[in-house]
Amino acid sequence: MKSFLLKLSFIIIALAGVYGFLVNRLSQDFVDIYYEKFTQKAGGLIIGISKANKGINPEIIEQKLQALNYYDTPLINYALNVNNSPFGEVYLESIKKKIKPIKNRQLFIVSVSPGAFSTPLKMKSEDIYKMDKNHTILGKVNKVDTKPNYNYIINTYELPLYNALHPYDKWLFYELHPNGWLEIRPNTEIDSIKATDIAFWKAGILKEFEAQLGIQQISSYRIESFIKILEFFKTRGDVFIVRIPQDEEFNILEHKLWPSFEQKMDSIAKQYNVPFLNYSNLANKFKTYDGLHFDTNGATQFTEMLSEDIYVILKNKEN
């Protein structure tokens, strides 16, 4: 019996050892398009879904606000996508773990889209919480600020670990920056995204949006959580609600899901005394790669405009 237990323990330890080695090896290379967001404490946050993930570059805002000289850094883009970072208690719990203790003041940019407030039809609050906890990256990852982040890999990495043994063959056109911004570069030295691809992707996303209309609804649970997040941020610094522009077709579909979306955001912003920067009327002004998400140029120009507006508001507030 003793020898049997010894051999069994040896096999289990060997399995754990090989697994640990592979996880560690993977953590030193490319993990996925969100991993870097979970590897540091944040002095300020950009939250929302994929439009914010790809559309707001924290570096530009940090540089602009340097002149004010009282913002905690780093500003981290902590927006993922509609499936992984909708507004909810799970997002708030994760934010609380992510944020540093206050040193001076902290900046928070909350990007809003109807999709971030939606749930499957007739879902109860406790079921939404369970769904978010069990099926989103934010829910699955307990440690959000360590590097290497083994907790992230163990809980979210679904691909086989042999990927740790060769450089990951990632998509050519993106780069995840250490500050969490997911940059989409349509033109690289090797290849460029073609116009036909853009048209194909846009058609695909529009189709997906339409399909969601019949099975999703706006959830009061998500609205309440959104307000709780605003209230939490307000205790720590300056908050801005931002509506990122997109192609008109997406606006039309989003308004089918929530016709009075901008009015509702406006009323919440007024009620909680938070500026609402609504850029939805700037459709087609910034370059996207699929009609919805900004590419490098679009994101850079948009973030520059956003940082300028934020700067002006903060400057006025100072005076």
């Binding site: 019996m1 049997f4 592979l22 109860k124 163990i154 679904e158 086989p160």
Partner: protein, 482 residues
């Protein structure tokens, strides 16, 4: 709790070590406690249904012992009503109301929500994990007592353990009281060879699940997500992979269940006997989900008359049997159609047996060739019917089948990884080879009794295969949803 979860890796050794340390008299309590913890780990409220079923059948079983025929019938009726009632409410009510709604709509009558079912939406009722399995298991107990085949179990704890025995609680095998209860009562001593066999079955089950079935699942999910894809070959491959995915997934669960039970001295029945090698459709159904098919044979098909009456009656009974098979798997018309399509082929199989024999004889075909033809057509038909099993709606299933046969595109690499595609095929061939030579239950013969260097080669290979090739999804087993 999932077999393929971290919690289970902690839970199992505690249960097994505890079992052997505790005095025989109290082991039932230890296993019952473990079983309830296992079942209610994520959803404690589900335990209530299990307890209702347990208490009802314990009570009905005892009352039937020396009762008159009339009273026996009454208690059997009570057991059937409670168990099937719960199953109906939690599994079929939404399907039933939707179907009634659709029927009224078809005749031009629109039922408003209030008229139909008040403010509550039945589709929101949560399906309790394993309810179809434990309901059938506990029903067999009361029916067997009613028939006089077994005596009631007087020890409530042992009976409760029979209903809730954790290795097979959520996805079978559906055990009969006459097999399982005596084993739960028996005085088990530490039996190292048995424990080793159990661990090998568990290891094999893990491999089947996380390396093979979940890997195939990625391709299947991608294929079925676009039933109108122009890539007909990819859709065909998706359907073939699905047959193997569901087989390996369920076989993995069964293997782990058998292995876990073996470590504490309980022998559960095998649910599979190399079904994909069956040369006829009836052969397939005799070797696929054996515990369910035997249950339905004993409690549905034979009481209806089986195949003893006229041809028409046999056809009726086969249709009813497979209607129940379909409905048991899921409250949806796709499952019903899947069941009925299988009934159709079985009827054709019986009906054309003489004609086929004549044709094969006239062609001078040998048994081996006939078996090969039977296998090819049988498996192809099963693959096709399983599209209804997997597709989310009838429309999707029909679209999928229609596009499967449009061979305009040879593109099969829909995951954009030939390595993964080849790996999937290698694993299918590997597992099928093992199943062909060792069957589904004697996997441990590959290891036990072999020279040390062979055994250690297996162990080392296993460690590396699991670490390198496992899909880390922690997916539930497909049969959990039934």
């Amino acid at each position: 709790m999932l077999f393929n979860s971290f919690e289970f890796l902690i839970f199992l050794p505690i249960i097994v070590f505890g079992f052997y340390f505790i005095d025989h008299k109290y082991r039932w309590g230890w296993l019952l406690l473990g079983s309830y913890l296992f079942y209610s780990f994520h959803e404690p409220e589900l335990l209530i249904l299990l307890l209702i079923s347990t208490i009802t059948d314990y009570f009905c079983g005892l009352k039937m012992a020396d009762a008159s025929h009339k009273l026996k019938k009454l208690y059997l009726g009570l057991s059937l009503t409670v168990n099937l009632g719960m199953l109906f409410i939690f599994k079929y009510l939404g399907f039933f109301t939707n179907s009634v709604n659709d029927l009224f709509t078809f005749f031009g009558v629109e039922l408003t929500t209030q008229e139909n079912m008040g403010s509550y939406n039945f589709s929101n009722i949560l399906l309790p994990v394993g309810i179809s399995f434990y309901t059938f298991q506990t029903l067999s107990y009361t029916i067997d007592i009613y028939r006089g085949a077994i005596k009631p179990e007087r020890h409530f704890g042992i009976f409760a353990l029979y209903v809730a025995f954790f290795p097979q609680l959520v996805a079978g095998p559906i055990e009969r009281a006459s097999r399982l209860i005596p084993q739960l009562r028996s005085h088990v001593k530490v039996n190292l060879p048995n424990i080793k066999k159990g661990l090998i079955l568990i290891a094999w089950g893990f491999f089947l699940k996380v390396v093979v079935a979940d890997r195939l699942g990625i391709y299947v999910d991608t294929a079925f997500a676009k039933p109108d894809s122009p890539h007909g070959f990819a859709l065909t491959l998706g359907a073939i992979f699905f047959m193997f995915q569901i087989y390996f997934d369920f076989s993995a669960y069964t293997s782990i269940a058998l292995g876990v039970a073996k470590t504490i001295g309980v022998e559960l029945m095998q649910n599979f006997n190399r079904p994909i090698f069956a040369t006829t459709v009836s052969g397939f159904w005799k070797s696929w989900h054996i515990s369910l098919m035997q249950w339905l044979r004993d409690y549905v098909f034979l009481p209806l008359g089986g195949s003893r009456g006229s041809k028409a009656k046999t056809i009726r009974n086969v249709i009813i049997l497979f209607f129940v098979v379909g409905l048991w798997h899921g409250a949806s018309w796709t499952f019903v159609i899947w069941g009925l399509l299988n009934a159709l082929l079985l009827i054709l199989d019986f009906g054309t047996a003489k004609l086929r024999k004549k044709v094969f004889d006239s062609l001078g075909l040998k048994k081996r060739s006939i078996d090969l033809i039977g296998w090819f057509f049988g498996v192809s038909y099963i693959i096709l019917t399983l599209v209804f099993f997997r597709a989310p709606s009838l429309n999707d299933a029909l679209t999928y089948i229609e596009h499967m046969f449009q061979f305009k595109s040879m593109h099969v690499n829909i995951l954009e990884s030939y390595f993964e595609l080849i790996l999937s095929i290698i694993f299918i061939l590997g597992v099928q080879t093992v199943h062909y030579y060792k069957g589904n239950d004697k996997i441990y013969d590959l290891v036990i009794g072999q020279p040390a260097y062979v055994r250690w080669s297996y162990y080392v290979a296993y460690v590396f295969i699991i670490a390198l090739f496992a899909i880390n999804r922690q997916n539930t087993f497909i049969y959990f949803q039934f």
